[in-house]
Amino acid sequence: MTEMNNVGRPSRLDLGLVAGTGAVVETFTGNRALMLEEPLLFERGAADGSGVDFAPVPPVPDRLGGLGRSAPIGLPGFSEPEAVRHYTRLSRQNYAIDLGIFPLGSCTMKHNPRLNEKMARLPGFADIHPLQPQASVQGALELIDVLADWLMKLTGMPAVAMSPKAGAHGELCGMLAIRAALDARGDARRVVLVPESAHGTNPATAAFCGFTVENIPANARGRVDLDAMLARLGPDVAAVMITNPNTCGLFEPDLKTIADAVHAAGGYVYCDGANFNAIVGRVRPGDLGVDAMHINLHKTFSTPHGGGGPGSGPVVLSAALAPFAPIPFVRRTATGLELVEEDTAGTVAPDSFGRMVAFHGQMGMFVRALSYMMSHGADGLRQVSEDAVLNANYLLASLKDIYTAPFADGGPCMHEALFSDDFLDGTGLTTLDLAKALIDEGFHPMTMYFPLVVHGAMLVEPTETESKANLDQLIGAMRHVATQMLADPEAWRSAPHFAPRRRLDETLAARRPVLNWKDEAA
């Protein structure tokens, strides 16, 4: 039973008490009833194990040109029952939206409707090949076209590029369009202005496109410093990248002013739309002078995050940038819907900056997002942003007497409430300690230490799919934990106590990276 040694025996710290006696018990297996330890599949699986049956291989001489693979690959196999258990047990060591509130600021962890999953699995969408003759996939092209129409109407923008695979990829799409537009007019400006509160993907993307990044400070109210911004504009500024609502969960009231100034100065405005959930249905970025904005379908439009992805990041574009949009894209023709690819691009989209992904984007996410949009409708989506903002402000109002809320005096927040850990000064406790304590309470912690503009940031985004009862429970727990931490700091340095693992040593992991299972035996 190697697996037990490998997963380690439970240490005394983890033990429960035997009723009455107070004696300590330790389990033989390391399991604790429904909390089950699971070895790595390499420790359990067998080279001859398999959970799949096949028809026999027809006996024909191979044509591998003498390049057949002979050495063992080293892949363990499981029978189906073992595989089902391995993954079911592992899944139970995860927290998820399906279990409770997951208030990661900037991530918009909202409910993922199962209707979307069902629709995405319709063979008509899931079982078609990207290179089938276009006449055989008209329904798929129709879905992309309808979704594009929704996105353009919701943002008030004239064009949208559907192929970007996630938000950061959408940023790339938008910035490439800007770069292409500049080149088209032979303009060599290369500076991109990015507020210091911006998400890391913004500067990273700008750099990817050969731009040089300059930071713009935030003002005391957590917004872009308008004067600093206007002062910096000039002939060398290619674009500004602004997040709105910004990463402090605040609306940028001067965006239109900035946009006009940027345009006047010959630059473009990229808007990071990751926080679109706060304004969808109530504000159209197109009315604020934006030239390009990505939309994370996996945030605002409820496609599941899947433990890290996949996402989808369509980018809406202004008339100025539309001609430079990537191929492929869908267009309506007399004979039906056409997917514009290399063959027709030359005539239909001569200025396109080209292809940024092998095929047509995240079809599976498109189906989910459209299913979500049609379910909510224009009226429902407006309600979405209202409830998202209402929930965040309710949290802010219910916590700001204990938790330091740096910008709360400046008025309401949008979809997320930002706190700093200043209120913990002197306790020696940090945002991290508080987050780990919330884990024991049965919550996923908020986003920690982002944005960088406040100390020990705690960014709490409840989303509109949380009930008042859930928020009240979270508020109660957050008030309880904070109060106790201030009263008796010592007791709070080592949470979590009840999770599948105690606090994990991240420094060790980085100092001595073990990224691939190596058979100690071997």
Partner: protein, 456 residues
């Protein structure tokens, strides 16, 4: 509205707590002229689940699905049978609705899966380390070129003409403004080794060459021994990047690692994902341990917890955008986590034994069909070696033939005319993929249809 828990009473009570007169008060930062006073025009209002389901089923019904027709389309996306268990696992709410594992104590499920996935990919490709996934094969290939530039401090990249043209286009697009120099050739369809340009690639390597990219099996299905190319690269201080678009081939064909690759990128769609009209797919990225700190994307690593138990965390994040910002190795954030899970589950179900059987089955069936179609009047099989995909010269423009085959209900392959509209020299060729899902009846239907179409 079924997804919104707040009741009107809740909303009133909460506004009272906040001290706001109404919801508009919370949007006071929005300039007046940008506030919409009602639902956006031109869009329908909310709909029942049944209504949405019917509307979408109607669209879906307009598409010809791979399972309902004799199906032989490949070129970077392959139809394989995915066991029912895979979908059951990825629909577990704890996997499906979790975020990136930022709080490892309550994300060990996702993290252990990623560690196992990285280990599987490393073994499959013959590399030492693999990351936790990229968007797809084409973006992974571009990231590999940037990585090679960072490692070699050289900017020139030679791309084999056997690389999927869409991958090369993506590379061209993303390097347009980075100073990387991409040299890509056009393929020649030499009988016996279509698209094989290893010799000219070797000849083209010089002291400015950062990396050479080859696909194996290449777009035309041809399999090559990359060892000489690897040696040539290494002799010149360049890196060999190998692209694999059909991972099932790794169950039968020598791994890129065995042939000397420095970086292996691939499209993992064949295992677990399904066709999905092109996405979401799975970018595989693996390399030698010594280059790990130049790698793009997330990495999961082993560590211990405060009680001494083994656990897993995301690590080496100083490479990433959220720490390094404009100096990051990549701007990628959200990746293909759930598809990586599907890939890992499928591969765990197969195991070494199952993968080898699957690969052998694909190959044998492809050999059978290649011989049958090669005998159709007017058709020439171009491949000497291949795995589950081969190229046919039809003696006439292939694109209309493909369309006519579709009219006869056979999805027969991909015409090079669609992939290289510019290259008249390639227009007569069609690439045919064969997997374990094709039956003898499918073979008959294809052969008959092709025969008829070409006879006209």
């Amino acid at each position: 509205m079924r997804y919104l828990p707040l009741s009107p009473t809740d909303r009133q009570a909460m506004l009272a707590t906040i001290g706001a007169a109404d919801i508009d008060a919370l949007f006071s930062d929005v300039p007046l002229d940008a506030r919409l006073d009602g639902p956006i025009a031109g869009l329908p209002n909310h709909a029942s689940e049944m209504a949405v389901e019917r509307a979408l089923m109607k669209m879906a019904a307009k598409n010809t699905t791979a399972s309902t027709a004799p199906f032989f389309v490949g070129c970077g996306a392959y139809k394989h049978h995915v066991p029912a268990t895979v979908d059951m696992v990825i629909q577990r709410g704890e996997f499906l609705t979790a975020y990136t594992p930022y709080q490892p104590e309550i994300a060990q499920g996702t993290l252990q899966v990623l560690f196992e996935f990285q280990s599987q990919v490393a073994r499959l490709t013959g590399m030492e380390v693999a990351n936790a996934s990229m968007y797809d094969g084409s973006t992974a290939m571009t990231e590999a070129v940037f990585m090679a530039r960072r490692i070699t401090r050289r900017a020139k990249c030679l791309v084999s003409a056997g690389v999927h043209p869409h991958y090369t286009s993506v590379l061209n697009t993303l390097t347009r403004f980075t100073g990387d120099v991409v040299v890509a050739g056009t393929p020649s369809l030499a009988v016996g080794a279509p698209g094989d340009d290893l010799a000219s690639l070797i000849a083209g390597i010089d002291k400015d060459t950062s990396c050479v990219i080859v696909q194996n099996p290449n777009l035309f299905g041809h399999i090559a021994d990359l060892t000489p190319l690897a040696d040539a690269c290494h002799a010149a201080g360049a890196l060999l990047i190998v692209v694999v678009t059909e991972v099932v081939s790794l169950g039968a064909v020598k791994s890129p690692g065995e042939m000397g690759a420095d970086i292996v990128v691939g499209e993992g769609q064949s295992l677990g994902a399904g066709l999905l009209f092109g996405g979401p797919y799975l970018g595989l990225f693996a390399c030698r341990e010594k280059h790990v700190r130049q790698m793009p994307g997330r990495l999961c690593g082993e560590t211990v917890d405060a009680a001494g138990k083994r656990g897993f965390v995301l690590t080496l994040s100083t490479r990433e955008q959220h720490i390094r910002r404009e100096k990051a190795t990549s701007n990628i954030c959200t990746n293909s986590g759930l598809i990586a899970l599907a890939f890992s589950v499928h591969l765990t179900l197969l195991g070494e034994k199952g993968l080898r059987h699957l690969a052998a089955l694909n190959h044998a069936r492809a050999v059978q069909l290649a011989d049958r179609l090669g005998r159709v009047p007017g058709v020439t099989l171009l491949n000497g070696s291949f795995f589950n995909e081969f190229t046919l010269d039809l003696g006439r423009e292939a694109r209309p033939v493909v369309r006519k085959l579709a009219d006869k209900g056979v999805l027969g392959g991909v015409s090079l005319g669609r992939l290289w509209p510019g290259e008249a020299s390639l227009h007569n060729a069609m690439i045919v993929a064969v997997t374990e899902t094709a039956t003898d009846e499918d073979f008959d239907a294809f052969e008959d249809a092709l025969d008829e179409v070409l006879a006209k």
